[in-house]
């Protein structure tokens, strides 16, 4: 399959700090890759390299068939970039912003105006189009920013945390816009901290941590990777959370984790229904009042937390929870 984005062994250091340590990824044309990672993982650095803003120390990358270092202008003509912060000129109106970017994308003034009006219409900004963009709401700014990155009808679109800080309604609107681009055949690389967002929009997901890819696959594959279904138990009294974990660890092979809310205990089910049945019986015998008892598929959160090790609950657990008694 033709690759629209292909990066091999990207490295980047800032002073002593190595932000990217040999990151490789590829996105087939027309697909959406979700890049998932905690703060400081190197998501923005990756996007900046792929969109020609930053030169890698090592490795190479091709975007839309062009080398991001040696064929910068060709890459720039082919891509759209929506950075982590909405980049609009606050003193210019929405329309003026778009016309300006259009002309810098090598449109004639007339073409740029036509394209600007088209995009304002498409992004529901016609009315706001004549007002200074500094007065826009966060959602409107994001839309304008996205519109600006679509002026040249890019074949590859980079979106760096496009919905961070937006309310749910604005997020839905933005998702719809992105889906429309994808339906039109645009290749997308989307970074996000929201698992739901990656789940909703991406064909494939890579999980980045400390400058490296630590897992990749479809959302389902990643979920399978952390193991099968999980049992979530919620106790009525926080004082009994540890007790419940202890009880569960007596019957399940996996070690239970304590939820941060102080009342939840979650454990992976390795023996399916047998685990569920034994857990129910054990809890019943222990006399711990249980307010919720539910089996669920692992969420991307589980994947994320187990892969990046960013689970505070599991850290606390090693100190607070009892050792699992060998079955």
């Amino acid at each position: 399959m033709e690759l629209a984005i292909h990066a091999e062994g990207l490295r980047k250091r800032y002073g002593d700090f190595e932000a990217l340590r040999g990151l490789s990824l590829s996105v087939p044309a027309g697909q959406v890759l979700g890049v998932l990672g905690p703060n400081g993982a190197g998501k923005t650095t990756t996007v900046r390299i792929l969109s020609t803003l930053l030169t890698p120390d090592a490795g190479f990358a091709r975007v839309a068939g062009f080398d991001v270092v040696k064929q910068r202008k060709d890459v720039q003509r082919a891509i759209g970039l929506t950075g982590q912060y909405a980049a609009v000129d606050e003193q210019l109106s929405g329309r003026e912003n778009l016309v300006m970017i259009g002309m810098l994308q090598r449109f004639s003034r007339k073409q740029a105006k036509l394209r600007a009006d088209e995009l304002l219409h498409q992004f529901d900004l016609v009315e706001a189009g004549t007002r200074p963009s500094g007065k826009y709401s966060g959602g409107m700014r994001r839309r304008l920013d996205l519109a600006a990155s679509l002026i040249n009808q890019p074949s590859v679109l980079f979106l760096d945390e496009p919905t961070t800080g937006l309310d749910p309604a604005s997020r839905q609107t933005l998702w719809a816009i992105i889906r429309k681009q994808v339906a039109a055949g645009v290749t997308c690389l989307l970074t996000t901290q929201y698992l739901e967002e990656a789940d909703q929009l991406a064909d494939r997901i890579v999980v980045v941590d400390k400058g490296q890819i630590i897992a990749e696959g479809t959302a389902d594959q990643l979920k399978d990777q952390v193991g099968g279904a999980r049992l979530d138990v919620t106790v009525g009294d926080p004082a009994q959370q540890t007790m419940a974990a202890h009880t569960l660890s007596g019957v399940t092979a996996a070690q239970p984790t304590l939820a941060e809310d102080g009342r939840g205990v979650s454990v992976q089910l390795t023996r399916g229904m047998t685990d569920v049945a034994e857990a129910a019986v054990a809890l019943q015998r222990s006399g711990i009042p249980v307010v919720d008892f539910a089996v669920r598929r692992p969420s991307l959160d589980d994947v994320f937390l187990s892969l990046t090790g960013q689970n505070r609950a599991s850290d606390e657990q090693s100190a607070a929870a009892p050792e699992r008694s060998p079955a």
């Binding site: 923005t44 900046r48 969109s51 020609t52 803003l53 930053l54 202008k73 720039q76 003509r77 891509i79 970039l81 950075g83 982590q84 912060y85 909405a86 980049a87 609009v88 000129d89 606050e90 003193q91 210019l92 003026e96 300006m100 970017i101 002309m103 810098l104 994308q105 090598r106 200074p132 600006a148």
Partner: protein, 262 residues
């Protein structure tokens, strides 16, 4: 049209729009130098003696140069804003000329400086400043002033892109330029200075541009020492500005090319 020219025009246009949209900047660039001219002319006019002519005639070139120097913090802060809100990232992701954004800023700024010069000239004429030369020479003086504004706007852009923080960008220029300004012939005649200080002040680029304006407008000069800089201020100021531009503009463009928001 070549891409670089189109990009330059688009970016200058952007700054002209900013000018119209931010009356505050206009006030700062027009009113402040006017007040300055008025105060200096009236206050010091009565106490400072100038070798050959009135202090009002002497001081105005200094006031003009001082007024035009607001270009430094102005363009420094503007560059920081562009950097901070991600606009420079956006521009750098476009297939556009590398210098256009800064050219837009520095050329656009000249329009503001021109307005400010007109305002200062008005005050100057009101307090008794006159020019005594041909129209062409007077115009050449103002052209030199604008070229000076263009040059120092590049200095400001370099400062802004280097410090990357609005407060620092606003204060660094005054800290840096205040001593240079007062160690020049802008407000005082250099005749009374100790020799070594006089030589330093005479070679000061600001003295060159102030001296050049005085010569081109037929206003009294700050020194009659007969040294090279006092005899050839026009030549020296042009050399200074070209030299400063040749160093600062490429550095600023390099900074721009590697600049990062956030």
């Amino acid at each position: 049209m070549s891409t670089a020219v189109v990009d330059g025009v688009v970016c200058v246009e952007r700054h002209l729009r900013h000018l119209i949209r931010t009356p505050g900047k206009l006030v700062n660039a027009v009113l402040l130098p006017m007040i300055f001219a008025l105060l200096f002319g009236l206050l010091f006019g009565s106490v400072i003696e100038v070798p050959n002519g009135g202090y009002e005639e002497f001081i105005m070139a200094g006031i003009f140069v001082q007024g035009v120097m607001t270009a430094v913090p102005n363009s420094a802060v503007g560059a920081v804003e562009d950097l901070r809100n991600g606009l420079i990232d956006r521009f750098r992701s476009l297939p556009m000329s590398n210098s256009a954004v800064l050219i837009g800023r520095t050329v656009g700024d000249m329009v503001l400086r021109a307005l400010s010069c007109v305002a200062m000239a008005g005050v100057g004429l009101a307090i008794g400043w006159r020019v005594h030369t041909s129209f062409l020479e007077v115009a050449a003086g103002f052209a030199l002033l604008l070229f000076f504004g263009f040059t120092v706007a590049w200095v400001g852009a370099l400062i802004g892109l280097s410090v990357g923080n609005a407060e620092t960008a606003a204060s660094v220029p005054s800290v840096l330029l205040m001593p240079v300004m007062f160690l020049s012939n802008a407000f005082i005649p250099l005749t009374g200075l100790p020799d070594w200080l006089r030589v330093v002040a005479e070679w000061n680029p600001l003295s060159a541009i102030v001296g050049a304006c005085r010569e081109l407008w037929g206003n009294p000069s700050a020194s009659n020492s007969g040294s090279f800089p006092t005899e050839n201020p026009v030549l020296l100021s042009v050399v200074w500005m070209v030299a400063i531009l040749a160093v600062v503009a490429p550095l600023a463009v390099r900074k721009y090319q590697t600049a990062a928001a956030g």
